[in-house]
Subunit: 377 residues, 2 copies
């Protein structure tokens, strides 16, 4: 067995919270953790160049979507182009999801069976079939550093019985993924812990996946619309049970409070479309909470989006100008907000890493919540 493509190094545990400060080593460079990963669904983080992501935002790793790239432009085309890194001109680490979340979101457009899922493309209605083997074929072609095993993401809420069956199938699919994965020396296959909002099922899922000795694990199937208390309840139950010597990834979170809580629970990685999606709708994340820049109140406001921010946008442009761009439907408005929002989360995680090293993450959380305008938890 050769060198592992992804390894986790623990640097420090916060004495106040137990949060982990670490490094994930990959073949495309190191990732300081906890880390937020911007999402580049269709082989591009919406509106951004790779250079902006690296130089202005400071992104260490990005996520891209298997479902979308399979449908368009097709994984074989990406492979012919030399893989996703080369195709999109990004030389840092990439993680691809497994398409499960997207396929299972198609509600009326898919049929689940033991072998896999049949679904209809959201683009043209054409029929497709994802099995664990097919998903591995796609993720192998795309060539990301971290690839996710094929899972079923249950809707919220689901019954105990359904969640149990689904979770057990997800484990069987993980085994099939491990067996089908062609490049374990180049791409690290992570397992996804399911089990919905039932702790015993989460525990069973975790235990059975840990037996597979995968190089990393993710929590799937929360942060899918449930109340925050239920998110916290499952997060705080599952995260500490996850292997300590491997990366722990919480899927699909991007709001500052969810990210801070995940770090406190011992999570190393997270991703979400939130910062770029709300940018396209004209909303900025700031140290004093969300700012809806289209609002009339900013018409003649010649201050930056966030006076405490030093990003490209805040160094050079005013709320009044960005408001004008958004009202005039100019692309530059989306770009400026995307840079700012991504940088906001990058800096938040930088700060979280420092607070972990200083054993003061809980103090920081309380201070941040107060300033940002969160009430509590």
């Amino acid at each position: 067995m050769g060198k592992k493509p992804v390894t986790y190094e623990l640097i420090h545990e916060c004495k106040q919270t137990g949060a982990r400060r670490g490094v994930i080593h990959t073949l495309h460079g190191d990732i300081q953790t906890p880390v937020f990963m911007p999402v580049g669904t269709q082989a591009t983080v919406k509106s951004m160049t790779p250079e902006e992501l690296k130089e202005e935002v400071g992104a260490q790793i990005i996520l891209s979507n298997t479902y979308h790239l399979y449908l368009r432009p097709g994984h074989k085309l990406v492979e012919e182009a030399g893989g996703l890194h080369k195709f999109m001109n990004w030389d840092r680490p990439i993680l691809t999801d497994c398409g499960g979340f997207q396929v299972f979101s198609l509600q009326d457009l898919r049929t689940i069976e033991e072998d896999g899922v049949e679904f209809k493309s959201h683009l043209d209605g054409s029929k497709h079939f994802f099995s664990p083997e097919k998903v591995m074929e796609i993720e192998n072609s795309l060539g990301a550093d971290i690839i996710m095993s094929f899972d079923e993401c249950c809707p919220y809420p689901s019954t105990y019985e359904y969640t149990k069956q689904s979770m057990e199938r997800t484990t069987r699919w993980a085994i099939r993924c491990k067996n089908a994965h062609k490049y374990p020396e180049k791409q690290a296959l992570f397992g996804i812990i399911q089990g919905g909002f039932y702790k015993d099922l989460r525990k069973q899922s975790l235990d059975s996946l840990v037996e597979l000795d995968l190089p990393g694990y993710a929590i799937g199937g929360i942060a899918i619309g449930e109340p925050k208390e239920e998110y916290l309840d499952i997060l705080r139950y599952v995260a500490p049970l996850m292997p300590k010597d491997k990366p722990r990834y919480m899927m699909g979170i991007g709001s500052p409070d969810y990210l801070i809580e995940a770090a406190i629970a011992g999570i190393d990685m997270a991703d979400c479309v939130l910062p770029t999606r709300i940018a396209r709708h004209g909303t900025a994340l700031t140290s004093h909470g969300k700012l809806i820049v289209r609002n009339q109140t900013y018409e003649r406001d010649f201050s930056p989006l966030d006076p405490e921010c030093d990003c490209y946008t805040c160094r050079n442009y005013t709320r009044a100008y960005i408001r004008h761009l958004m009202k005039a439907q100019e692309i530059l408005g989306i770009r400026l907000l995307s840079i700012h929002n991504l940088k906001f989360l990058t800096k938040l995680m930088e700060r979280v890493r420092i607070e972990i090293e200083n054993d003061s993450l809980l103090d920081f959380k309380n201070e941040f919540y107060k300033k940002y305008g969160y009430t509590k938890e």
Copy 2:
């Protein structure tokens, strides 16, 4: 009388064609001519940052639109922001047009009288009135280095009688603009030569405007949809008659052949939305002609848009990737095409300047036309 805000310095006349190689000196820096000016209609060159325009494209001056900025966000707001340069973060020269072309394009939405033009906003149907004095108020507020006098742009074709009346009114409006212009020491007011496709009217227009001793002159009312021979006929008649010691500006051209012909006729400046507009529709200008990157033929083409180009886009991305972005409606596709197209025209004009200095512009034109795929003239 103080220092003039804009002066023209002739460096060399091409012995093969008579084309002018010069420098326009402005308070925001020098402009090497002949020059192509990217258009930033709504205080942004669509999809681009100022840094990209400077560093990747090499834009020396940009144009912005009085009509659009008057309606949104309003010239007074821009003035409060510290003027257009500061509002949009652009520290090189700016030219604002006079709104005439836009207002007169509104066909059923405007009424022309001696005092000015009443029109309805294309945004909300609200009524507005542009007079020469109003246009000067707006352009003074915006604060561009070069401002255009208010003119009427006749439709093509128009009768001799109507064109004559309209041209004479445009001259009377130029006089009113000169009188109303508040900052002649900071902003250079250019006159617009009208007269449609009637040479004697063009001559009358030019002579009467030259009497006003304005710091520069533009040719308006051609390149508005007429056949190319008529464009060339008027261009070649008017341009050589324009004052030699002042900048000569041909309005609204951006296709390579029109730009080369204008330079040969003795023009110094030109502008057009073409490179950014066709970018948004997925078309690239290349040394071998236009390339419609959405075409199926480029699906697996892993070569750059233009193998002879060294722009950011061509250095880093393939036709296959850009095609994917455009089909997936990703903003980055528009950005990459906009950078490439603008750089293509910037480099074309750089080359034109060198060929003028070498007295070989006609040879270059013939060579370029052949390669680009133009038949003749």
